[in-house]
């Protein structure tokens, strides 16, 4: 297999083009419509034609999907009023058309420059995600960049049926810099990349069961992982939430007093920490005896 460019280094538009069937992407509210943020304009901050999220529909393996890709370079991929409304609309369209919806997340969460409007937009998008889920329409968050999924976008990602991650991807709420400010450098040194990724990176999230697949940093591998999930959905049932409650309680009981990420890895069945640290995503997934 020939390897394309690294997915985490690509732009949102390149990621979409690399994931979907060639030429199949049809953008909704494309750049010529010039729907840009009045908040940023008022604040004298450059605006962008897509307001930091590219949305549309395309085909993956011949199957129609709705797709969003956040632009991490643009105000950290953060969600403002327009950006959020595009996401809400996309998931609502997916629910209406019973078409799977994929969001390539690259966002620190709510766009502070737009205040509470972005926060409400994330809450509205969550409702739209559950509209999809009520109809068993698959919703998938792809988290494959260093910016990752944080703040409200981290929480939103956990509302989707599935999460596809690479080891570059990070999933959380409060970022390392915020926690370091709060707890001090001794508790969390945000410049310690190994620690940051062991805290929130794809490998740890996969090991704990919060990511459903851990794949190579490559569009082909991500497409394959998505394809496998397109026909599936994750149940919202009493049985499912009770099982999850028990699982999360067990996790907290086992590791709640653990400062050391390696202990979590060991506890979750990783025998050789060093080898696991060096392993690629799929190698890691094979090595880890993930508890079901």
């Amino acid at each position: 297999m020939t390897r394309g460019p690294l997915f985490h280094e690509q732009t949102a538009r390149q990621r979409i083009a690399a994931l979907v069937d060639p030429g199949s992407f049809d953008e909704l509210l494309p750049p010529p419509e010039r729907i840009t943020s009045p908040y940023l304009a008022q604040l004298g901050i450059p605006v962008s034609f897509d307001d930091g999220v590219v949305i549309g529909h395309a085909k993956i393996g011949g199957r129609k999907v709705y797709l969003a890709a956040q632009v991490g370079q643009f105000v950290g991929g953060a969600v403002g009023e327009i950006h959020g409304a595009k996401l809400t609309g996309l998931f609502k369209a997916a629910a209406r058309d019973r078409t799977p919806c994929i969001v390539i997340v690259e966002s620190g969460g709510v766009r502070l420059h737009e205040g509470s409007a972005g926060e409400i937009a994330i809450a509205e998008t969550m409702r739209a995600i559950f509209e999809c889920r009520a109809k068993k329409v698959p919703t998938i968050a792809v988290i494959c960049s260093d910016i990752g999924a944080y703040g409200g976008m981290g929480i939103l990602s956990t509302c989707c049926d599935f999460r596809v991650m690479t080891e570059h991807g990070r999933l959380g709420i409060s970022g390392p810099i915020v926690i370091e400010k709060w707890m001090g450098k001794k508790a969390y040194d945000s410049s310690n990349r190994a620690l940051v990724w062991k805290t929130s990176g794809g490998k740890t999230k996969y090991l704990l069961g919060d990511a459903d697949s851990l794949v190579l940093d490559d569009a082909g591998a991500i497409r394959e992982a998505i394809s496998k999930l397109l026909g599936k959905s994750s149940a919202v049932s009493l049985k499912a939430v009770k099982a999850r409650q028990a699982e999360l309680a067990k996790r907290l009981k086992r590791f709640g007093q653990t400062e050391d990420a390696d202990a979590v890895w060991k506890g979750m069945g990783v025998r050789d920490i060093e080898a696991a640290s060096l392993a690629s995503g799929p190698e890691f997934a094979a090595m880890a005896k993930r508890e079901k």
Partner: protein, 241 residues
């Protein structure tokens, strides 16, 4: 305004039935009555931070209600400064604990439980998103500190001077902090004063709630969030072609 103790607040909302509500580590769970309606109560108080254990504690109450009290309305009280900013909490997947709580609430909604939120104190950031903002209808006391963050905090992070933000917030309520500007955005249905009428208002809110998310419509009607609804509609129209 004098700050009420969490117990006094519960009494104001639920009268003598508030004795059925436990307050433990600033988490509120239990069963009570609003007028003649029995309700399940979950929530936070004292501006506490929500961590993994707190999310599980609230989720357990929701699950108990679904299992044992079919269709009983769930009242969600919010007084929390945010998610617990802690490395271990993050390592163990705080986002997933919140996602689980949201899943439980979604199951409740599908099973016919009405979800009514009252922001009673701080309703900020991740702690508002992880349950309160997921209600069918969301209300706030006028004394509640609702929103993304106060202007001073926004200024500290964005490096935009406070006077600039204050001036802009006159025309952009989204930048302002508080229950009233949040209502202009459609983020809350109505703002309540904590007086003797508040229990009756809650009772009426439960009776009239519907599961349709009306926040974007409200935001447009009230003029605080002019774009969201139209852009959503545009996506829906263009995608139907």
């Amino acid at each position: 305004m004098k700050k009420l103790s969490s117990r006094a607040l519960l009494s104001q909302l639920f009268g003598t039935s508030a004795k059925g509500i436990a307050v433990e580590k600033s988490l509120v769970t239990g069963y009570a009555s609003v007028g003649a309606t029995r309700v399940c109560v979950i929530g936070t108080c004292n501006g506490t931070y929500v961590d993994n254990a707190a999310a599980l504690h609230l989720a357990a109450q929701v699950i108990d209600c679904i299992e044992h009290h079919p269709k009983m309305p769930i009242v969600m009280l919010v007084d929390s400064a945010g998610q617990e900013p802690n490395r271990v909490a993050e390592m163990l997947g705080l986002a997933s604990y919140f996602g689980h709580l949201l899943n439980c609430l979604e199951l409740a909604r599908r099973n016919g439980h009405k979800l009514i939120t009252v922001a009673t104190g701080q309703a900020v950031g991740g702690a508002f998103i992880c349950y309160g903002m997921f209600g069918d209808r969301i209300y706030a006391l006028d004394s509640a500190r609702v929103g993304l963050m106060p202007v001073e905090a926004m200024s500290a992070v964005t490096k935009i001077p406070v006077p600039v933000l204050r001036k802009l917030s006159k025309t952009m309520p989204s930048l302002e902090f508080g229950a009233h500007p949040f209502a202009l955005l459609g983020g809350v249905e109505a703002v309540w004063t904590l007086d003797d009428g508040v229990a009756a208002k809650l009772e009426k809110a439960i009776a009239t709630a519907s599961t349709e998310d009306n926040r974007a419509e409200l935001g447009k009607k009230r003029g605080g969030r002019k774009l969201a609804l139209d852009i959503r509609k545009k996506v829906l129209t263009e995608s139907a072609r």
